[in-house]
Symmetry: C2
Subunit: 284 residues, 2 copies
């Protein structure tokens, strides 16, 4: 890959994440920054904001120019997009994506890749419950976690190139792992959390109860403002791992419930103290 300042970089999909990556990559000053979307609106907004140099509703016309592509479209559309456009990519292009499930999607994209292309699956842990390009400015990358699940075929120099860009965009830690390990862990840290937040809100019809809410209620239900189609996809795409994680959480919930029901104050306090210490260790 040539230096980023000599690259034409492209973003496919200008929702909140595409917009946020456009802003972050733009600050790294590629030769040109392009974006495509099915609708003109986010493209025109990004042009007006001087975030991109040119916007395309014709993805093929953009892809033919791009040395580097961030694929920022919903997981279910990532594979069809790659299938449709695999012959449109510029020779030797480097591609990365941001889909929240890696196992199935990354493997399916891998099998249809052209020999000259390199695709490094990724997952930036920097989403938001809000969607749309207009929310992109509020999407903060600084200090956030980034997961990469490199393929055996990835060129080492391309992996280092992408990691350098990720660090320069402000992310705090980069973890390299397998797609399977990613999906197992993300089922816990992301999907299970969303299922729990949704179940909390689902369980109480009285919206006036929010007047009794403090920081904990706010925290645990913020992500219940979820993008329903996207999270349905993510839950079902990673169904097996997620169901295992729900069962695992369920075990602990049952154990705590038993201690409360049995008024086991000593055991309950010990268990809560252990939780506190484990959570503190996770911050380190």
């Amino acid at each position: 890959m040539k230096p980023f300042k000599d690259c034409v970089a492209g973003i496919a999909g200008m929702g909140i994440m595409g917009g946020a990556f456009a802003m972050a990559l733009g600050r790294l000053a590629p030769r040109r920054l392009l974006a495509c979307d099915t609708g003109r609106k986010p493209l025109d907004a990004a042009l007006a904001d001087k975030v991109i140099d040119e916007g395309f509703t014709d993805a093929a016309a953009m892809l033919r120019q791009c040395d580097f592509l961030y694929l920022c479209i919903n997981p279910s559309q990532a594979l069809p997009f790659m299938e449709t456009h695999i012959s449109d990519f510029k020779r030797g292009a480097l591609i990365t994506d941001i889909a929240g499930v890696k196992g199935t999607i990354a493997h399916r994209i891998e099998v249809l890749l052209r020999e000259d292309l390199d695709y490094i699956p990724g997952h930036p842990m920097a989403g938001s419950e809000k969607g749309g390009y207009e929310q992109a400015k509020k999407c903060v990358f600084r200090g956030k976690n980034y997961i990469l699940t490199p393929l055996k075929r990835n060129k080492k120099e391309n992996l280092e190139y992408l990691k350098d860009l990720i660090r320069r965009m402000g992310f705090g830690s980069i973890t390299e792992t397998t797609a399977e390990e990613h999906d197992r862990n993300i089922a816990f840290t992301s999907q299970l959390c969303h299922v729990i937040a949704a179940a909390l809100i689902d369980s109480e019809a009285d919206t006036a109860i929010a007047r009794f809410g403090g920081g904990s209620f706010e925290d645990l239900t913020r992500i219940a403002m979820l993008n329903a189609p996207m999270w349905t996809e993510l839950f079902l795409e990673n169904r097996n791992e997620l169901l295992k994680r729900i069962a695992q959480f369920q075990g602990s919930l049952d154990a705590l419930t038993s201690l409360i029901a049995g008024e086991e104050s000593v055991l309950l306090e010990e268990r809560l103290q252990a939780v506190r210490e484990r959570r503190a260790a996770m911050k380190a």
Copy 2:
């Protein structure tokens, strides 16, 4: 009650909440602001910060001077404190507390009250997972919810007096309700949230999984840094309501789990969309 500027106000217990109320009441400029604690350390810190005018380890000596008292000690100690010191209060004093469970504690304090004293039970929804006086500055009241569960015997003028102070300290909404309704609702918005956060951390021993965490994991587990003795008390004190709320949450978790296991994408998306809309309505 005389105007607050002519009152001697006291804080019993200088942990994070006592410290935060001392700072907030101090800005309303009472004639004198006193505090008592079993230890000198937080009192000396508050004196050094010019937050209080005088600090006492002898609660009785302070109470004899106070026209107004904020009882900011752990729920389990609130009742013994009142039992021990009921004869020490200045004649006609107005007392309020901040205990997170109201039914049992407020009723028990009520029965031992002297005729001349007025006690208005309250619960500011402005805690923090951190504890201790040194954290008090970070405890934000602005815009937060405040619940009052007035007693039949409360003087109307005292209730208005307290509400005026609460508003002037920056709280956003004041809800008046019964102790029973408080405990039913708080079991959902506060205690259930803490049980869930604790169960999440309890369920996963691998602290390195935090590298896979994004905002949702951070949000759902922040409050797992809980004060184990205090939350043990709160869970057990409000056990019956909390167990009902856990069962209610469980029902929704089971329903969502079934939709995921059955790959019911249409029903799952509809249900998540309804959750999103309900959560949005709660913000209003």
